[in-house]
């Protein structure tokens, strides 16, 4: 079908626009470090060298940092999704008034620049004795990673057919079970999307660790990467290698999440 071909054509165009920068990123990381930086990136570095990765690994303690990042993500991402899905669901089943209040508050929260929160949060975490631990990095999970995700869930849950909610009410399901048995499975594409996004958000959190974590052993990847970014210009492959390492997990997560997008049980077909 022609429409299909247009889609493919479009997809190829998207690839052409979005991929080259990333190819440059990878090829740059494979350049031999210690050379004068080429003024223009090359597609195929000459000679090819993995030394950038070795240096990055040792200089930036990437191993340790990756471990920390994974640890944070492993706790924070499921928690974020859980909190966001809960909150979104609760909102979808709440009275108009409460919804207005919470949505307004969420939008206000979205408006708060990260830099405006650093200091008061620092005081809070210090008061709780949590600075210099990984807890402050996990804490944003309480927000569902971002209030936006709560609102997206809210819209998704609100869009489900009312009759289905009614069926759950008839079966005397508690809200929690309604959420678990019905609402959450049906919005699986949304969950997949938001899981990927909150992973990316958590993974690339830079300001929080910068301010709340002192101990080098607790550094996460963005911090390690930041320290590589101030290397001499001759060492740019080392930095790029770090960047590739830091980019890889989000890519993997996204590719995995993508499968779930496509396996949607759209409630639409039986909406009447």
């Amino acid at each position: 079908m022609p429409a299909r071909w247009w889609r493919t054509l479009g997809a190829v165009f998207v690839l052409l626009v979005f991929v080259p920068p990333l190819v440059l990123l990878v090829s740059g990381s494979l350049t031999e470090p210690g050379q004068p930086p080429p003024p223009t990136p090359r597609l195929l570095p000459e000679p090819l060298s993995a030394a950038g990765y070795e240096h990055a690994w040792s200089l930036g303690s990437l191993g340790r940092a990756t471990l920390n990042s994974v640890l944070v993500a492993a706790v924070a991402v499921p928690l974020s999704v859980l909190v966001a899905a809960w909150a979104g669901f609760a909102l979808a089943r709440s009275s108009r008034r409460l919804v207005t209040v919470v949505v307004t508050a969420s939008l206000l929260a979205l408006m708060a620049p990260a830099t405006a929160l650093l200091l008061p949060r620092f005081v809070i975490f210090r008061f709780l004795g949590l600075t210099d631990t990984l807890v402050p990095l996990i804490a944003p999970a309480l927000l569902g990673a971002s209030p936006l995700y709560v609102l997206v869930y809210y819209l998704a849950f609100r869009g489900l057919p009312a009759d289905l909610y009614d069926t759950c009410r008839l079966c005397d399901l508690t809200p929690a079970r309604t959420w678990w048995r019905f609402a959450l499975p049906v919005v699986r594409p949304v969950t997949a999307a938001l899981t990927a996004l909150s992973f990316i958000l958590t993974w690339s959190n830079f300001l929080d660790p910068l301010v709340y974590v002192y101990d080098r052993d607790l550094f996460t990847l963005p911090l390690a990467l930041r320290s590589l970014s101030v290397l001499d210009p001759t060492n740019f492959p080392v930095f790029l290698a770090g960047a590739v390492v830091a980019t890889l997990p989000p890519v993997i997560v996204f590719v995995l999440a993508q499968r779930w997008f496509l396996r949607s049980e759209s409630p639409g077909r039986q909406l009447r």
Binding site: W86, L107, A112, P147, V152, L225, P250
Partner: protein, 289 residues
């Protein structure tokens, strides 16, 4: 079920935010105790040329970048929401820029935008002579000309639409199927389908993203402006309010003053959002039960 979120919202964001905003009425240098100055900071802001520049920069950025970002994300979501050859990789590719750590991405763009050797300008100079474009004009001086630098920051922001894109993708995929079949039967053109079905049906999500993007774009410009143009070209072509606030607060230790700048920004954002909020409400109504 709302409790954890509300806790996070109040303790982690709203509370701290209110504290910071309260400090807008004080002179606070992060070290000595704050001193109440009333509206002193605000009067000073009105006279601060740097702040004024930053504010205008931010507003222009939002006005240009937000519609473009939304349009592109929407176009991509609609293009790629179905299975097609190359669609899967394209979806991943479209999200990737948002997944690359910001600093690395900034550095990458420094390369891309390199005025002499950068691929972008080399492509633009294809067919031209003496490093000029085919039309005999000098290619954009991304990093040294104020207007071009602003364009560069916007260009960069157009690539980090991953989040918007994915959310729209998910929204599109959960729309009912049979109404599209009906539209196909009526031989509705793609344009009609878009205008009369898809857009109204995803309007709530779109509205939310619009609001979010307006808000975000007023923060977004931070890292790229820092890494790529460092707030320049001189004097303050790409200094946006967040960068201004960050520098003022943490480099110049004028936290109270920065808080005042943030508050001004917030009020403007609230005004902008209030307008869109009404749109959102109007479109969202059909979902009401």
């Amino acid at each position: 079920m709302l409790a954890p979120y509300l806790l996070g919202l109040v303790v982690l964001v709203l509370g701290p935010f209110v504290i910071t905003l309260a400090l807008a009425f004080t002179e606070y240098d992060l070290i000595r105790p704050p001193v109440w100055t009333g509206t002193g900071n605000f009067t000073e802001l009105t006279r601060d040329p740097i702040f004024r520049t930053a504010l205008v920069n931010s507003l222009v950025f939002a006005a240009v970048a937000v519609p473009l970002r939304l349009l592109i994300a929407l176009a991509l979501a609609l293009l790629l929401h179905r299975r097609a050859m190359a669609a899967g990789p394209a979806r991943t590719a479209a999200v990737l820029p948002a997944a690359v750590p910001e600093i690395a991405y900034g550095l990458l763009w420094l390369w891309l935008l390199n005025p002499l050797y950068g691929p972008i300008n080399q492509v633009l100079a294809l067919g031209g002579q003496n490093g000029l474009t085919v039309f005999g004009r000098t290619p954009p001086q991304w990093l040294t000309d104020p207007a071009d630098a602003r364009a560069a920051i916007i260009l960069m922001s157009l690539f980090t639409i991953g989040e918007t894109f994915i959310i729209l993708l998910a929204a599109r995929r959960s729309l009912p199927h049979d109404v599209y079949e009906l539209a196909a039967l009526e031989d509705a053109t793609s344009w009609d389908v878009l205008r009369r079905i898809t857009l109204p049906l995803i309007a709530p999500v779109l509205g939310l993203l619009l609001v979010r993007d307006v808000i975000q774009s007023l923060h977004f410009s931070f890292v790229p402006a820092l890494v790529v143009t460092d707030g320049g070209p001189p004097p303050y072509a790409t200094t946006y309010v967040p960068l201004f606030a960050y520098r003022t607060a943490f480099e110049y230790l004028r936290y109270g003053y920065a808080a005042a700048a943030t508050l001004v920004m917030l009020l403007l954002t609230v005004a902008a959002v209030a307008v869109q909020w009404r749109l959102l409400r109007r479109y969202g109504r059909f979902h009401d039960r």
